[in-house]
Every structure is written in C-alpha cells, then in structure tokens.
C-alpha cells in the first residue's frame, strides 16, 4: 500500500465510509458482462455445488448439484454451465475488423506487413472475489483435458459435448486475468478496491458484501457499522445472514442445512419418491447462499459505472480483444488445449510480458488520474508545478534545433539526478521528453529535448508558457511493447509461434475420484 492509499484508509475510518483512491474508472466494463457466482463443495478441490450465471440482473440462471458425489450430476452441471457460458463467449467471435501488423515471413525471414482479423469486442466475465477468479482457473483446468465420446469413443466416463471447450475458454480467461490491467475476467472486490479504500484491512475487503457496505451503506448506518453487520450477523440458528459465496460455503451452513438436505435428497432417490421436491428444496437452499453475492456484483457495477472511464482504458481493452481473438484462432486452427505446465521459454516470456504490462498499467493509470499521479509524485517519481520561466536555447548543429529551458515551481521532491530523462504528456496525446538540468529552492529546470516538431522554431503549443501547469514523470509513458499487439503468449502457433510439446493426456478418471 502506498502512503497515499494508507491515508485514504484512515480517512475512511474517520468518516465511517469508504474514500476514493481513483477519480476515473481504470478498468473496462462491458455493456453486457457475464456474471458468474460459483459455489464449491467443501473438502473437494474444484467440485461444483451450484452457480448463478447470466447477463440479466433480474434473471440469473440457477445451476445446482443435488449430490456432489454423483459423477453424472456433476457432468450435467458442467454441461449446463457450458450451455450458458459458451454462447456468450463465442458470440463475439464473428464480428471483426482488420488490422495491419508486421510478421516474420517463415520462408524468407523478412518482416512483412500482414492484415489480420481483430474482434471488434470481447466477452467479459465477472466474479465476486479473488477466490472466484481462482475457482474459474480450477474449473478450466478440471475440464480442458476431458474427452467427449466423439473425441474418444473408448473413454470410460466421457465428458458432455461442450465441456472440454468451456474448460479451454475458462483457462484462457483465468490466464489472462494474471496480466495486470486486463479486463476479460475480473473480480468485483478487485474492481472496487482499485477505486475505493475502506476503513478495514485488505483481508476483510475480500468479503464483497462488507466492502460494498463501506462504499455505499444503507440509510441510517455508517459504512463501518453496516460492514460489521454484513460480516458477522447470524440468525438464531447460527447461519450467516449475508453469506459471501466464497465460493466456499460457511461450515455452519454445510452442517446445519446442506447435510440434512442432502440426506433427504438421497433418501428420496433411494425410495424413488419425492425426488423432484427434494431437488427443488436443494435449489432453493443454494439460491439463498448465491443470491446475496449475485446482487452485490450488480450493485458494485452500478457504483463503478458512475465513474468516467480513464483515457487509456480502451487501449488496454484492445489488448484484451487481441487476446480473445488469438484464442479464437487457436481453437479454430485445431490446436490442443493449453498444456498442464508451461515450458521454460513460455513461462519466462509470460513473466516478462506481465512485467511490461504492470509498468504500462502504472504509467497509464497515473496519466489518466491526478489522484494516482499524486501517489507517484509523493514517491518522487513525478513532479508537477507552475512554469515560472522559459528560456529559448538552441543546439549548435548546422541546422539549430530548439532546446528551451523550462523552470517550474514545485513542492515535489523527485528523485532526480542531473541529466535524467523526464516525460510529459502533450495536449494531443504525444509524449514530450526532457532532461533535468538544475534544481533551486522550490524550483526545477528541465531542458526540452523533443516533441517540438522538425523546424527551427518549436511548433505552437509544444513549449509550455509561464503560468501554465505542467507535470513531468520520471517513468516512461509507454514502457516497451509499443503499439497494441497480441502478447507473445497469445500468438497462435499457426502464426509462426513454436509448436508446443505433445498435447497432454486427459486426467485418468477412476472410481477413486469420487468418494
């Protein structure tokens, strides 16, 4: 946490209400995001228990597993999830524009421009919390190596037709979620904590209901009171009144409600009577655990939509569109599912590209948002102030170039060494570079070294005038990576990437998989 964010938390404690840590929205929000609230069975990794899913706030589809140990029910759940999720994900594949990019011709080794498709939009998946993102990854992993009866007629327990495909897409979404600033798969707690600071710890912020209570408390309560109530309130039986859908369920719920309902369901099945009623009862029960988190996600969306979008958000979303398009192409090219483990080269490349994405995100958020820039200024990574003097100077070349000296008055204390490069955003969106030359009391002088056009005289508007406010950063605005191209990990193998190792075998399925 930076000191400026820490201070915001203290302000929240003081006010009994969350305080902003951003003035614009730093993540893309789809017009119609697909919301997924999953529930999992305790003690069994990745075993689904239920889910609410859909794009309509008032009409989620409820999917349930009445007996988590029943392999067929689990398969039916995953098939229903695929039926609900895949049409949405695949619905963005057809509408494309074309973009030009340079590729190395495999035959000649020459870099040549090619025209490639880019989907005009991409699907967005939202889950309640960080644990939900991890759960999407687990679901993806558990499904992508399964084989359908069509793929493998000899498979002992064939997967329903669309399940492996859903596994591949969920894996892709979860993988993409590790790229800083990406928006294909986001958690609502992550979104909200990026924009608001509460008066509780980051650990406690993982409870979406309690986080929302700090940001938008109900009438008559302070955020602090409302959050505490959401977190702790239990009914007479000891059940949580505001279950967080973790995706794990509360142990009290498991022991007092779920276990008896399961037993009733098993009994109904054993006697072959009342099965439907028992199943309906189970669905109702699971809905009580899912619905609060479902509503909370949409409530969070309302709050986020009220913020104006940051200037660079669309540029980052374009990278997400590339990522989506590239995965679409891999599937179309008939490539096997993502491997279990990345080989060393791929792992290193992913790491490097995530580091670049992190630097890019930090730069862009600061440029888009004065409150984020304030944090960078406090850290000595930027400075802002009013121009007090501009002295025109020129290089001594045959055709002299302008090299004006701009002095600003500032209280900021950047960590600058003489000759350090600094960067400034111009009105037209270009970046101007300068060189730090001298510091006086409350004064810093920068020599402009670029962004003034080609002539002897600087183009109008490229040199700030006395009285103007300017902000210089010590960090680059577009750290490595340049224009929005697909990340290396998303370059389809058919587009010149290295062919990976042999496709992984499916997990062996034995009776031992299920108790």
């Amino acid at each position: 946490m930076s000191l400026i964010t820490t201070l915001a938390r203290f302000e929240a404690v003081r006010d009994g209400r969350a305080r902003p840590v951003a003035t614009v929205r730093h993540r893309h929000l789809a017009e119609r995001p697909l919301v997924l609230v999953p529930l999992t069975t305790a003690g069994e990794t990745g075993a689904p228990l239920g889910a609410l899913v859909g794009t309509e706030r008032t009409a989620p589809r409820l999917l349930t597993v009445c007996q988590p140990r029943d392999r067929d029910q689990r398969a039916a759940f995953l098939a229903a999830l695929a039926e609900e999720v895949l049409p949405h994900i695949e619905g963005f594949a057809a509408e494309v524009t074309t973009e030009e990019r340079t590729e190395t011709d495999p035959a000649t080794g020459r870099r040549t421009p090619v025209r490639v498709e880019l989907c005009t939009d991409a699907p967005q998946l939202l889950v309640p919390s960080a644990a939900g993102v991890e759960y999407v990854r687990l679901l993806g992993r558990s499904m992508r190596f399964r084989r359908t009866a069509e793929q493998d007629p000899a498979a002992a327990f064939p997967a329903p037709p669309r399940v492996p495909m859903l596994g591949r897409w969920l894996t892709h979404f979860a993988e993409r979620a590790q790229v800083p600033g990406s928006s294909l798969l986001l958690s609502m707690t992550g979104l909200l904590t990026r924009h608001w600071a509460t008066g509780q710890s980051p650990l406690e912020d993982q409870h979406l209901g309690s986080l929302l209570a700090w940001i938008d408390p109900p009438d008559g309560l302070s955020g602090a009171e409302a959050a505490l109530r959401v977190e702790l309130e239990r009914d007479a039986e000891g059940l949580l009144c505001h279950p967080p859908a973790g995706p794990a369920t509360d142990p009290a719920f498991d022991n007092k409600r779920l276990a008896p309902a399961l037993a009733r369901y098993d009994r109904a099945r054993a006697v072959g009577r009342g099965v439907e009623r028992a199943a309906a009862e189970m669905a109702e029960l699971l809905a009580t655990q899912l619905r609060p988190a479902w509503d909370a996600v949409w409530h969070g969306l309302d709050l986020l939509r009220a913020l104006p979008e940051g200037a660079h958000v669309a540029e980052r979303w374009k990278r997400d569109r590339w990522s989506y398009t590239a995965h679409r192409d891999r599937i179309r090219a008939g490539e096997p599912p993502q491997p279990r483990r990345d080989d060393a080269v791929t792992a290193a490349r992913k790491l490097a590209s995530r580091e670049t994405a992190q630097a890019r995100l930090e730069a862009q958020e600061a440029l888009d948002d004065p409150l984020v820039m304030a944090g960078r200024r406090l850290a000595g990574e930027a400075f802002a102030g009013e121009v007090t003097a501009v002295v025109m100077e020129y290089t001594e070349a045959k055709v002299p170039r302008p090299r004006p000296l701009v002095t600003v008055r500032t209280e900021d204390a950047p960590h600058l060494a003489e000759g350090a490069r600094v960067h400034r955003l111009l009105a037209d969106g270009r970046t101007q570079t300068g060189e730090f030359t001298a510091a006086g009391p409350d004064r810093l002088t920068v020599r402009l070294t670029g962004g003034m056009g080609r002539g002897r005289q600087p183009e109008p508007g490229t040199v700030p005038e006395p009285g103007e406010r300017v902000c210089w950063t010590l960090f680059e605005h577009a750290p490595r990576g340049g224009p929005a191209l697909p990340e290396p990990e998303h370059t389809p193998w058919t587009h010149g990437g290295p062919p990976g190792a042999m496709a992984d075998e499916p997990d062996p399925v034995t009776a031992e998989d299920y108790l």
Partner: protein, 352 residues
C-alpha cells in the same frame, strides 16, 4: 473445564504472532479460546464442514492403508529409493494410557525401529515439547523411520496438488507445522542418542481432482530455524501471569464483563492476520478499534507510520494539527494529505 492441550497448529500460529502475550498466556494455560470468545460475545467464525471432515478422513485412511506400504512407497519414490515390499514395513503398536504413556511408547517404538534397519510407519505417534515453560503434547499424522535410521515427519493434507503445485500459503503453513514436530523429534533423538531427524518432511495431498495421493518433500531448514527462534522468544507463561493482578480468571462461565476485564489485563498484539488464526480475533479487533490502533488496518501500516500508533494521531499529523513536523513520517503524511486534497479538487493547488 479441562485445559486444552497445545497442538502443533496452535504452536505454529503462536510462533506466527510471538508478540502477543495474550495468546501466549491463554494457550500456555490451556484456556479454550473458542469458549472464551463465545462467552465474551464475539464467537469465532471457525468451524469445520462435515464434508471436508469426512473427505479428509477418508483420504488419510486411504494413504495409510496396506500396512503403511503406500505411504512408504510415496516417501521412497521421493527419495529415489527402491520401494520396499509390503511385508518389509513395520507398523508398531503405539497405544498406551495418557499422553505421557503414549509419548514413552512412541520413544520406545522409535528406538526399536531405528535399530531394526527396516522401514517403519508410526501412525499418530505422540511427541512432547516444552514451550515457554509449558509441556505440550503433539500428534503428527505419521513419522516414517527408514532402514538408514532417518526419521521423516509426514503431513497428510486435504488440499490438492494440481499439476505438481499446491497453494503456497497452505504449503507454508504445513511446513511450519511439520517444523514443530521435527523439533520435538530431535528432542527424542537426542535423548535416545539414536536416529537422525530429516530436514525434509513428506507432504501428501490428493492428486489433481482425484482422491489418489501424491507427495512432495518440503524443506524444513528455514521453518525450523524460524520456529526455533520464535519459540525461544516466547515469554514464559509464568512471567506473563506474574504481571497480572490477583484473582484474574479466564473461566468461560464467569460473567462477560469480568472476563473482558481479565482479558484486557493481558497485553495483545492484534493484526488482521489474527482473523485467520486465533479464536479471540473478533474480540481483539473490536478492542483495537476502540483504542484506535493503526495495526487493525494491516501489520505493514505500522511500519509506514513510524511512531504514530493511533488513528487519531495519524489524522492529526496529516491534517497539520499534530505531530512533530521534523519527523519524516509526519512530514510524509502531511505531504500525502496535501497531494490527495489537490487531486480530489477540494483545495486549490498550492501553486495554482
């Protein structure tokens, strides 16, 4: 109420927050903190789902089936040895009366197994360790004795290892717990002047999404050093107790107000991590809130703020109404507040 014995999980948690005298005293004195929290009106949210319990149990018995052959196979595979035949693994009987009896029985079994030059699986042995002056009895899932006289702690966990990797935080917690067992085992080895305690523990988890076991060796050298250091730093329980007023009592049957006063008499060190590991967390959190302590926002917050310990003093320093302006923490806060206000547009920028 019978005192609750200290187990390895409690010890590892204690070692994670060694600065908390409240916990050290209550655990050392065997107070049931869960019951105490309930009596204080701030019950802990810990509980175990019966589904997790049943599955965990089934997994452990599966791993230990076939007279220990499966478990020894997993270990020898990790160590690169040839797995023994099932009849080459001994499973000594360890039942005895009371914890002292079981501890003695375990020591005897360890000596015999070490001398035998064969594989042996000690299922739920009992080990003793004296912590801050209080004896604690510990019950690891298993200890395997190898033909070379090496003793290996086995941790059987129900979280999955997927594609060879498990949740790092959970593995870390398992390693800390295993380190406590290894420390206790070293005591036995020293007393017997036999055996050698391995600096690696065997972690056994379900493989991928199945109920089949898979295993990995976890390095105990670091957690051993940390745990030993932290346990040695724990203040002796008698010393804490000596600092208490006469007649302090933590019996959960006493009235809540009296209990609250008793608890308040022992200094605590609340931080949000307590929520994951200590039954008293909701009570201590509320007290920390009332006292305006900064740690409740996170342990790291304190480090950022130098000597400022309360919310009030931080806000006063930020607002320019308090604190020594020459203190770098105060100066940084003041600057942070000015920059925040400027960016939020509540105040004209100082140089505009």
């Amino acid at each position: 109420m019978p005192p609750r014995p200290l187990d390895a999980r409690a010890l590892a948690a204690l070692a994670a927050n060694p600065g908390c005298r409240r916990r050290a005293l209550l655990d050392g004195a065997g107070v049931d903190k869960g019951a105490l929290a309930q009596a204080l009106g701030a019950p802990a949210a810990f509980g175990r789902s019966q589904f997790a319990f049943v599955r965990g149990h089934a997994f452990e018995s599966r791993v230990k089936a076939d007279g220990g052959a499966e478990l020894v196979r997993l270990l020898s595979e990790q160590l690169g040895h040839k797995p023994p035949e099932p009849d080459e693994v001994d499973v000594p009987e360890l039942t005895a009366a009371g914890p002292e009896g079981r501890t003695a029985r375990t020591a005897l079994a360890l000596r015999q197994a070490t001398g035998a030059g064969r594989w042996a699986l000690l299922d739920h042995p009992m080990l003793a360790l004296t912590i801050a002056g209080t004896p604690a009895y510990l019950e690891p899932d298993a200890v395997v004795v190898g033909p070379d006289g090496g003793w290996t702690v086995v941790e059987i966990k129900s979280f999955a290892m997927i594609d060879g990797a498990a949740d790092a935080a959970k593995v870390g917690a398992a390693a800390r717990q295993a380190a406590v067992y290894a420390l206790a085992l070293r005591g036995v080895a020293d007393r017997l002047a036999a055996g050698r305690v391995s600096e690696q523990a065997l972690l056994v988890c379900p493989k991928d999404f199945s109920n089949l076991p898979t295993a990995a060796l976890i390095d105990l050298r670091k957690p051993l050093a940390t745990t030993r250091r932290q346990l040695s730093r724990l203040v002796r329980v008698e010393e804490i107790a000596a600092g208490l007023p006469e007649g302090v009592c933590f019996d959960p049957d006493r009235p809540a107000a009296e209990l609250a006063a008793a608890v308040a008499a022992v200094p605590a060190a609340y931080a949000p991590d307590c929520l994951a590991g200590c039954e008293l967390a909701f009570h201590c959190r509320e007290r920390a809130r009332q006292a305006g302590l900064v740690e409740r926002l996170g342990r790291s917050v304190r480090a950022e703020l130098g000597g400022l310990a309360t919310v009030e003093s931080v806000l006063a320093a930020a607002g320019g109404d308090g604190g020594d302006p020459d203190d770098p923490a105060v100066a940084a806060l003041r600057r942070a507040a000015a920059l925040r206000a400027e960016a939020l547009g509540r105040e004209a920028a100082p140089c505009r």
